[in-house]
């Protein structure tokens, strides 16, 4: 593992079996992400970005290769190990926010803590909420929040358990330009002020420009490191 790397993928492949056809979504990805880095993965649809996101987030196992996250080898992990990874090591931000509609913003954040089994709010909770500008919206349900507010709540939920890595999949894909800028600014501040490692998937070069480094994917491979 590269010194200081929090994610290290080597010759990572993922093959889906669709009927009688094998679909090679990843064809030998090599990627290293340093602790505290803000990295964007850019590529067209079908390039394998989302598959990489799902593997790094422990949502699906890789087919071959090696991928180390915080010193843990994903290829060796059972379903229970990947569940534990999602609980404690990675936090997700999705394009569609994916908040639970029946809970308030605060409860959406709290449930992530409950699932992780964290006994109390992290010390930084209030400052995170303040940083995200959602302190006045915590008692509202998602349907009463704008898209930008929902995404900020989703970011708060993703980092409430102090994950080693924040994975963001097209976090501005459903937002207008103004809200996109707010969300991207927040991600950058989280990275700069809290040292949060962020890996962002996007097809938008302007969004990618907020990150420290950009890698391109095409046909299941990283084109440029």
């Amino acid at each position: 593992m590269t010194d200081g790397a929090i994610i290290e993928a080597r010759e990572l492949t993922k093959t889906f079996h669709v009927g009688d056809v094998d679909v090679h979504a990843l064809r030998g990805v090599n990627l290293s992400v340093a602790r505290g880095e803000f990295l964007s993965v850019v590529g067209p649809s079908g390039s394998g970005k989302s598959t990489l996101f799902h593997i790094l987030g422990g949502l699906t196992p890789p087919t071959s290769g090696s991928v180390m996250i915080e010193g843990r080898d994903l290829i060796q992990m059972s379903d229970a190990d990947r569940t534990s990874l999602r609980k404690k090591i990675v936090g997700f931000v999705f394009q569609k926010y994916n908040l639970l509609p029946t809970l308030t913003a605060e409860e959406n954040i709290e449930i992530a803590r409950d699932i992780a089994g964290s006994p109390a709010r992290p010390a930084a909770f209030d400052s995170i909420v303040k940083l995200l500008g959602i302190e006045g919206r915590l008692h509202h349900k998602p349907r009463a929040l704008s898209g930008g507010e929902q995404q900020r709540v989703a970011i708060a939920r993703a980092i409430v358990n102090d994950p080693a890595i924040l994975l963001a999949d097209e976090p501005t894909g459903n937002l207008d330009t103004q809200n996109s800028q707010v969300v991207l600014d927040l991600l950058r501040r989280l990275n700069h002020e809290f040292g949060q490692t962020i890996l962002m998937i996007t097809h938008n070069p302007e969004a990618a420009a907020y990150s420290d480094r950009i890698v391109h994917m095409r046909d299941g491979r990283i084109e440029q490191l």
Binding site: A80, N98, E107, I111, I115
Partner: protein, 363 residues
Amino acid sequence: MINRLVFENLKHRPVRTLLSALAIGVQVVLMLTLVGVSEGMLHDVAERSRGTGADVIIRAPGSSILTFSSGTMDERIVGKVREQPHVALATGSLVHPVGNAFNAIAGINLAQFNEMSGGFQYIEGGPFTEPHDMIIDSVDASEAHLHAGSVVDFGVPWRVTGIVVPGKMSRMFADLKSVQDTYSSSGQVSVIWVKVDQPQNIPLVVDEFKKLLPGYGVWSLADYVSLVSADNVPMLREFTGVVIGIGAVIGFLVVFLSMYTAVLERTREIGILKALGASPGYVLGILLRETVLLAMVGMIAGIALSYGARALLTQFAPNFTTIIVYSWWPRAGLIALLAALIGAIYPGLKAARQDPIEALSYD
């Protein structure tokens, strides 16, 4: 927090939640009403037996414990019984089924029966005097809308001369000879009621009658009343079991369908929970907690509805004496809960095994 999610999930679909709880409630009320009716009717039989004032009861060989109309014996036995030591009073009655399956007319010697039981309390009219006169208790009178002066056809017309307070052996009474002659049972009685001179002599009298009348049913009234239970009613346990089983299947199906549709509807939310690191056990736990909450609400609704069912039966079918059997509340609740939990297992496992990526892409 998980409890909050469970509560909000149920609140999110109020109609489905209410209907599911109500269906579980129907299952509970079905059980409680059935048990309430069977226990109530048996309790009524016991109370009406006590109402005769007798200490010992004699039945013909092979007759049913629970119905006074089954089996007859020679009326002359009453005379023999009366001659035995420690017997203060003895009177025979012939109970003949009439009308529906739950009604019977009791032929009694009014003077003897009054002496033993303390006499009837008349709400309307007075005692029977003519061969086809009868008196009827207020329960039957209310159900059949009868009053003093009404005529009832039980094969032959019977004139109601009085309405009495219930609680003495039967609901309809007429002169013993009239009942015997009308229903081709001349010289026959179906029950002999005996009053003993001193309570401490009851066991002695019972033993003597058993020797005197081998094969006959002879019990002290206390023993007889203790035999009037669901265990001694042929097929009642089985019938109750079948009805409870049907109720449990209803509860199972309702919860299964309710939870199955909830899981389908919440596929994406399940994906979110799994992405946040929720284990299969955590997801299953949410569904099972929802089920327990539904079952508890259903149980409370069922208990409340059982009071309504009792009120309806009392109003429209007073012959079905219904009581609230408190000891069955936890039993009915447990059965409903188990049926509901079994119904939730498959949807719960389906949710727990949900692939998070597929679930998150579900719209």
